[in-house]
Symmetry: C2
Subunit: 427 residues, 2 copies
């Protein structure tokens, strides 16, 4: 369901750039769990290993919650919400008419945002899915304290029990203790899957069920990816992508990778991808800076820089969706005052495809900017499950190629330690 096209990269033969033996060596580290951070490889077999009893329980609780609310607040930061939001926007779209609106909180400490949200929720029937392994992370902790309080005030403590669900550690931590004491339903974040790899666990699946997304199809996609990515060498498409970006970075000196899509509803997907790659690779003074663009809009914004700005800094990775969710035609118009009648025999998707051809030629052949093209079959629930697994395999490969641990994030704690010291947090 994802094909890697390197014809606009200048890399004529990938196997000349990275030896298959290197790929096979890293592949064995992933599959045999022999590399750094191997305790966090639970995601590799998750599509077939997840607990079907818990999945059934989640479906039941989600169905009940969905029947009671018009707004779901997902409280979480980083990997606790980015994958959920990426799936929600990509699958449901940006202007859907589903009965449940999903709003995210706990990813900011802005009092402007928080104040407006609490006012907005006063007339809503809302529920909360709070996602935190420990329950003591500052941002989601504060948001939960505020919004739990508001919900209890609006509906009473007894009714709130059915409206609050915690996704957290199976036995340890403040959130688990709190949920058990107050009688909130909990679902488990597995110990061997880190935050940025966790969207297919209850972290993402539970809120997506409440949002009415078909998560069976997501799992089907992930299973399909796991099956199709069984190759140990460069025949594996995820490894092709990993190897190409590794070579552009370490051999040709590119420092930044921009993930580009032509679909506004994939913008959050690029945010999820930024965490996955930035946090997995950005350590020991290494790693590409992940950035993103959405075309057409950014062709009329960053497009100028991409075409003619500083060279040899950035390359693009372009997501090209082959099949749109719907076909729209350019309507006929007698007057033709806008001079667009030459397009009326075409669908928007055909015009967009032509734009992509034009852009690839302009950026690579004229602008000398390498473009990796990722051809996606479609853009739906099944595709989401597939691409999650695919990018996870790719990042494990590329981080190990860089000789960094793909599964830790030691740098994230530094600001926290500073902040706790300044805030006088008790030891």
């Amino acid at each position: 369901m994802i094909k890697v096209n390197l014809e606009y990269t200048g890399l004529n033969d990938l196997s000349q750039e990275v030896k298959d033996s290197e790929i096979i060596k890293v592949d064995a580290m992933i599959r045999n769990r022999t590399g750094a951070g191997a305790d966090f490889l639970g995601w590799v077999d998750w599509p077939v290993n997840f607990d079907s009893t818990e999945y059934k329980a989640m479906k039941k609780v989600a169905k009940n919650l969905r029947s009671k609310i018009d707004t779901l607040i997902v409280i979480g930061i980083g990997g606790s919400y980015l994958g959920t939001r990426a799936a929600d926007e990509m699958i449901r779209g940006l202007n859907h008419s589903d009965k449940v609106e999903v709003i995210y909180a706990g990813h900011t400490m802005s009092s402007s945002y928080t104040d407006q949200l609490t006012k907005y929720l006063k007339n809503k029937h809302f529920g909360i899915a709070v996602v935190s392994k420990s329950g003591t992370t500052t941002e989601p902790g504060i948001a939960f304290r505020i919004l739990e309080g508001q919900l209890v005030q609006q509906v009473g403590a007894e009714a709130a029990k059915e409206l609050i669900v915690a996704i957290t550690d199976k036995s340890k931590g403040a959130l688990k203790a709190l949920a058990d004491q107050k009688g909130y339903q909990t679902f488990e974040i597995p110990d061997d899957i880190g935050g940025r790899f966790s969207v297919l666990t209850p972290v993402g699946i539970f809120p997506l069920l409440v949002a009415g997304v078909n998560t069976d199809n997501i799992f089907d996609g992930a299973k399909k990816a796991r099956k199709q990515l069984s190759k140990h060498d460069l025949a594996n498409s995820a490894y092709q992508y990993a190897a190409a970006r590794y070579v552009l970075n370490t051999k040709y000196g590119y420092k930044t990778e921009a993930l580009v899509s032509y679909e506004s509803q994939m913008q959050l997907l690029t945010e999820w991808w930024k965490q996955l790659f930035g946090e997995s690779e950005g350590k020991d003074g290494k790693g590409l800076l992940p950035t993103s663009m959405v075309f057409s809009t950014d062709l009329h914004s960053l497009g100028q820089w991409v075409q003619e700005g500083t060279r040899n800094v950035m390359f693009e990775t372009v997501i090209r969706v082959k099949k749109p969710l719907a076909n729209v035609k350019v309507p006929k118009n007698k007057d033709n005052l806008d001079e667009l009648n030459y397009l009326t025999s075409k669908t928007l998707h055909e015009i967009n495809s032509t734009a992509i051809e034009g852009v690839l030629d302009a950026h690579f052949n004229v602008g000398k900017m390498p473009n990796i093209v990722l051809e996606f079959d479609k853009m739906d629930d099944e595709m989401f499950g597939y691409l999650v697994y695919w990018f996870e395999m790719a990042v494990a490969m590329s981080a190990y190629l860089l000789e960094v641990n793909p599964f830790n994030q030691p740098g994230v704690d530094i600001y926290k330690k500073n902040m706790f010291k300044l805030l006088g947090k008790p030891e």
Copy 2:
């Protein structure tokens, strides 16, 4: 209203890095209109020169439109919508309860997006503000043809006349001709102000009026900025910012600037900023790649890369808002199961401020990543007008320092030419 703080950059004395005489020379090019692209300097005096008769007419038309609709579709791409959207989100916030919802179209050719939007609008009372100098730009042109057709179908051609407003050239072009023929109200895009500098013209002001934003305050802010930025040398704060980023780029070799805010509702502001700087500077093989982050969320995503990834590629420019729109406290909680009671004497804004201190220290002192800090007084309509003018002055200075024309965008046409050829557009 904006103070530049360089203490986390390592630039101890800016006047040692860039001579005041260089700044004064470029300042004269801007104010005396002697540099490249000087035909597009209309924005410099716009805050005092704009046509008050047209402004009054806009207010009247906007008031009428606002009374008739629940949804405003702003059709435009690049500078025709980014500033509007930045203002809308920053000023109204992300979860406002205003009666008019604003949705953007014409910035994408995705048929998935377009199809969903047309379905969503079936049960809405919507109006259209279409923004295009020529009216023949492909993306907004197609979107307008589709949505104008839908509106006429839903309410009839006669009623649609009051619901469609075109912001376009004063006399030339397809959109002007179309609007005149069909009886749509038009407002004028000035000839001497380019798209990315145009948010304070009818391009942004008209839709913002319909959205219920106080545009008088926006103009007050812009006037204040124009007055406060009267200095010709490094005493001018916008020039301090321009000079600092120019030095980090050309003398110290940084290739990328990330604009960072701690307010989710400023995310679109960073998108507007990307176009302003990327399109003004990114030419002749020069210019910083503009990227952006929103903290706290991105501290748990890109934060790892920022702290410990590849060095000497990126620097940060951090927007720090001094006064929040509202004060929210961390509520008290007897049980303290989440261990956050040590914060209950503090407002969220105080905690967020402490986070900023902790992050600046972590990123600069530990991570060796330079941080320019922009201290904003507040985050409202007046501030928006101020910052627009301030960044516009800054980019004119920095682009001229790079010896490029800040006001053209020759690279944007290359993909279009390719596309038109592939689509068989008539000459």
